[in-house]
Amino acid sequence: MTVSVAPTVVKTTRARRGLARQRLQNLLPKLVLAPSFILVLVFVYGFNLWTFFLSFTNSKAFASTHLVGLLNYRRLWDWTFQSDPPSNWYTAIVNMGLFGGLYVFFCLVLGLTLAILLDQKIRGEGILRPIYLYPLALSFIVTGTAWKLFLDPGIGLEKAMHDWGWTSFHFDWVVNPRMMIYCVAIAGIWQTSGFVMAMFLAGLRGVDGEIIKAAQIDGASAFQTYRRIIIPIMRPVFLSAIIILTHMAIKSYDLVLSVTGKNPGGAAELPSTFMYSFTFTRNQMAVGSTAAVIMLMTIAAIMVPYLYSELREKGR
């Protein structure tokens, strides 16, 4: 009898200890993730809640708790549809669409083109790659200035062309308020497309060679192989690229100011500059916060379904 009792005791304590361990093991991953998640919760979502609250107040230079209802939203609503003369907010939205669209589109197109070209077993890839990549290493503060200098018709490209005898050359976008935003886009594309190229190049190199062979046997031309087979396979790369590009487009701030020179005619306004100027320069923090809220909601409206579908699709 005694002999058989002992193992049972040992067994149960062992099992219990195992259970406690198991529980700790189950908890550990969450514990590890928790600090990051809490930081994000507080510093991103908490702050956004605060901004959301401010958008209902009359905060000016400093945060105020005096509620004014939807006043700020009504103001921005009015400004949204005020296109003659365009309110700064209207310009900001239009520019965001233009800039964001051009920036993301051309970065993708250029990045993909360069990646495909580089992927043709090119000699000197090691030299070419950093050339396309280096602009990202430069700070916007400087590249903006350099591009402004470069595009300035009085001292830059146009003048140089005239000096060299091509007197009919004309390129004055950077001083033409209507075209300014395109200059910002050019500088932005120049800066980021190399990065996108690197991502696509990586994506291309990751495509299984047998698939390409199969496509070739099926009689697809090189172009068709890329368009019908390889590019669709790289869909996840597009996801990452679009996330990174969108976030950069939204946050472009230094670049806009340094390329356009403080926004002449209010023509180079972007939501980020609008928010900044209302919050910090014009001491209308409530309006700035409202703009931030609307901006965030717009981003959410676009990104959340996209992220949702992409994350969901991967299943598991």
Partner: protein
């Protein structure tokens, strides 16, 4: 009490039930093969034994200890993965010693154990290489070595041979079998390859959709499949399944296979079938393995129950050691296994001999064996 016991085991992911109440036992030193088509839950079951998947309900015990809540490393098991799961950043020796290192085994002891196992598996010359520098077969050996070094109570194999080419697979299969004989360890082995199951197992468990179809020795599984699924799944080429009618005269049942445009084949009921359960005019499915269908000359002489009939040959597959002859009976393809030198050509009318000692009957409604 069996060495490995699985009682009423269930696994649920939300509403989805993957393991639907499985009971299994395995004696010490046994070789249990879990076999079934992909998605049948065999890998999940193995992972549950390993402790890599949680258990929704039920119980698993090894040598009398319930291991449900034990961490994988505390279950005294070793596992060989389909992809081998060798740590790419470690040398072969380090890979093999990692488990002991984690358990705090002193280095000299680890080295010795690794050396011993390496010798057994003849991979001593590979000890300092990285997994990426190994061939597929070598990786497989290392993965087994890593498991062996632990000297576990139970070995778990998760389709360990499926990444190897055909020849290597056969070699490794033999290797594993030899290893099992030498060491006498208890093994649970997952595969979808029924030849592996047949050759290796002392006990086979056939799974489908999370349910156990049949458990038994390879012989039982092969010769007396419990249902149509097992009959169809085990064996290559698979069992011929022919729809037939029961005709009962004077209590003696015979099986009638109707052939459009030809006279019906009348066969005596196989011995394996419980004649009392056969109803006159009832529909049954006759299951007969290709090797029980042959030319009359090479039919089993010891058999008491041979029926011969002529049929049109559709296809001939010479397989070297045998020749497989395909004919159509009642719209169903029936494969016969004939001598390698059988002179049969497509289009001929040939006599086929059915060895009904080796035939089984199934009830099409329940799909169970009668």
């Amino acid at each position: 009490m069996a060495f490995l016991e699985i009682n009423a085991l269930r696994k649920r992911f939300g509403a989805l039930e993957i393991i639907k109440g499985i009971d299994l036992t395995l004696e010490k030193g046994g070789f249990l093969v879990l076999v079934g088509p992909s998605g049948c839950g065999k890998s999940t079951l193995l992972n549950m034994i390993a402790g890599l998947e949680s258990i929704t309900s039920g119980e698993i015990s090894i040598d009398g200890d319930v291991i449900n809540d034990l961490h994988p490393s505390k279950r005294d098991i070793a596992m060989v993965f389909q992809s081998y799961a060798l740590y790419p950043n470690m040398s072969v020796a380090q890979n093999m010693a990692f488990g002991m290192e984690m358990r705090g085994v002193p280095k000299p002891e680890r080295d010795k154990a690794v050396a011993d196992v390496a010798k057994t598996l003849q991979i001593e010359h590979l000890l300092n290489r990285r997994p990426s520098q190994l061939s597929g077969g070598q990786r497989q050996r290392v993965a087994m070595g890593r498991a062996l070094v632990r000297q576990p109570r139970v070995f778990l194999f998760d389709e360990p041979l499926s990444n190897l080419d055909a020849k290597l697979r056969v070699d490794m299969r033999i290797e594993i079998k030899r290893l099992h004989h030498q060491t006498g360890t208890t093994i649970v082995y997952v595969t979808h390859d029924q030849i592996e199951a047949m050759t290796l197992a002392t006990r086979i468990a056939v799974l489908k959709d999370g349910e156990l179809q049949q458990v038994g020795s390879p012989y039982e599984i092969y010769n007396t499949p419990a249902n149509l699924f097992v009959a169809d799944f085990m064996g290559s080429p698979s069992m011929n399944l022919i729809e037939a009618k029961v005709s009962k005269t004077n209590g003696a049942a015979s099986i009638v296979v109707d052939r459009p445009g030809a006279e019906p084949i009348v066969l005596p009921a196989p011995n394996s079938a419980d004649a009392t359960k056969l109803r006159d005019g009832g529909i049954v499915i006759l299951g007969i393995r290709p090797e029980a269908v042959s030319d009359p000359e090479s039919a089993d002489r010891k058999s008491k129950n041979i029926a011969t009939f002529a049929s049109h040959v559709d296809l001939v597959e010479p397989a070297g050691s045998d020749t497989f002859v395909v004919t159509k009976i009642a719209g169903k393809e029936v494969t016969a296994r004939m001598r390698a030198d059988a002179d049969v050509r497509p289009g001929q009318n040939v006599s086929f001999a059915f060895n009904l000692d080796k035939a089984v009957l199934f009830d099409p409604q329940t799909s169970r064996r009668v």
